[in-house]
Subunit: 298 residues, 2 copies
């Protein structure tokens, strides 16, 4: 059975199309590597690439693309709305099929070692690959961004996991790690009161005492005159989508507000929605093996 | 993009393992053909084979297996609980991926023509391939079974679609056609009163004035002391699973009974459950393209 891993590297270039094509090019025309998507954002000055494939093939392509990005991006001249600490800002590996999280972590460390040596790039391991709890969260590592990293990296607790404690002069540093697939799941409320969305977000998210694998903020949808609880579900196998949805419904009642619907942004693993259907229909003893498509894909 | 069709031929042999293996053998070790399952039932004296693959490859394998079944099964000595009219009783083709119903109908007719000529087997086209409305329903065609077919086939309205109007002396006749995937979906009720299950089944099923693509009967689960509405959803793209489920909940209220859960027997297309999740979460503008696995399978 074929192993499939996903990689979603974020590069700090969202404006220069020629450079972007050069960076994306290593993901094209390769056996066992499939470029699913790349989305650039001019305001963020960043491009997010989504690629899937066989682990070794994806690894080689990612290493090649990192090399190109280090060469063509100069962070000394970079500005954008999105925080960034490197030409290659972050490289998450996500186990998709017939591959364990342990294997994904292993793969992330192999890539980390190689790029640190090959391109003189200090690497911080993050998420499931993190070497300590304070490095699990990318925001902690990135705090201070490229400009602040030259000082930060000298502190003993911010010694990189691979490479020497010296920021690459033009490419900065990079975070590499393995994580679960994210699901961007937003629940709309029948109100234009952003305070209500903020309060509900605070209650359902992990840091507010809510669900373990849920990040949430309140967002205004000005066009529609409503607000939403915008969530990142960071492990749908442990914090189910329907659980967040039902909790938001319950919380919304406090404010006399109802749920208007929801949206999923981008890709979602099949199992996250199958699990939701199984819950609402109360299907007993259901197995993913019963999904026709999983039998065909084997 | 690879076309994938499913075929679920039913053969009238459920006891003689040697004969069954001979019949199933053409589905093994072939390129682009995958034997997913075969389930024999001694009481029914019948084996149901599930195979998927590339249309031409599946077609060739099915024709070969039909030939074997005609050779090894003698219906003159056949008895079992399940109604049957042929050594090969029924051969449904089900479009699964990148293939239209029209193409599946076309394929079923090609197979029908070949087996009628090659094996002297009269063929009735049924379901979406039917040449008239009274041939859509398999039960209509099969009425009278093997023993009654010798007379029935002489009636002008029961002239076969392929082959001469003469029943094969040992292999009878066969129904071949294209249909949507069936979903076997059962909803359990918190009561042991079979009358209630029967009444609800009658109300939700098509022939009772209920949902267009729903067949239903009441069934007792004696071990558990409860009853269930046992359904065959014959087109989940038009009659959604959640609709049948919610209707049963509504009907159950009349009898002061609640729904205890449900079950799905055998395989189910991913989309049938994704659609259900999208309904309950109220996801706006969802596209099957957002399912990660569909992007990998392309």
């Amino acid at each position: 059975m074929k192993k499939i891993i996903e990689c979603v590297p974020n590069f700090s270039e969202g404006r220069d199309l020629e450079k972007i094509e050069k960076i994306v090019n290593p993901f094209r025309g390769k056996d066992n590597v499939k470029l699913l998507d790349y989305k650039r954002d001019e305001d963020h000055n960043r491009v997010v690439v989504t690629v899937v494939g066989e682990p070794d093939a994806v690894k080689e392509a990612v290493i090649e693309a990192i090399g190109v990005a280090v060469e063509v991006i100069d962070l000394r001249n970079h500005s954008g709305q999105h925080p960034r600490m490197g030409a290659v800002d972050v490289v998450p590996f996500i186990p998709i099929k017939n591959i364990s999280m342990t294997e994904a972590v292993e793969l992330s460390k192999e890539v980390a070692k190689i790029v640190s040596e090959k391109y003189n790039l200090p690497v911080f391991l993050y998420e499931k690959s993190a070497s300590s709890p304070d490095r699990e969260n990318l925001a902690n590592i990135r705090k201070g961004e490229f400009e602040g990293m030259f000082e930060k990296i000298k502190q003993p607790q911010w010694k990189p996991d691979f490479g020497i404690a010296e920021v690459h002069p033009t490419a900065g540093v990079v975070a590499i790690g393995a994580r679960m697939p994210l699901v961007a799941f937003n629940v709309n409320l029948n109100t234009n009161n952003i305070e209500i969305a903020n309060k509900i977000a605070k209650n359902v998210r992990f840091i507010g005492g809510g669900l373990r694998y849920c990040k949430a903020i309140g967002v205004e949808l000005k066009d529609r005159g409503i607000v939403q609880v915008s969530m990142n579900m960071t492990d749908y196998t442990k914090t189910a989508l329907y659980r967040a949805f039902e909790l938001i419904k319950i919380e919304a009642k406090r404010y006399g507000v109802s749920v208007a619907g929801s949206e999923i942004i981008g890709l979602v693993p099949m199992e996250a929605l199958i699990d939701t259907a199984v819950y609402y229909l109360g299907i007993e003893d259901f197995s993913m093996e019963q999904i026709l498509e999983t039998r065909i894909m084997e």
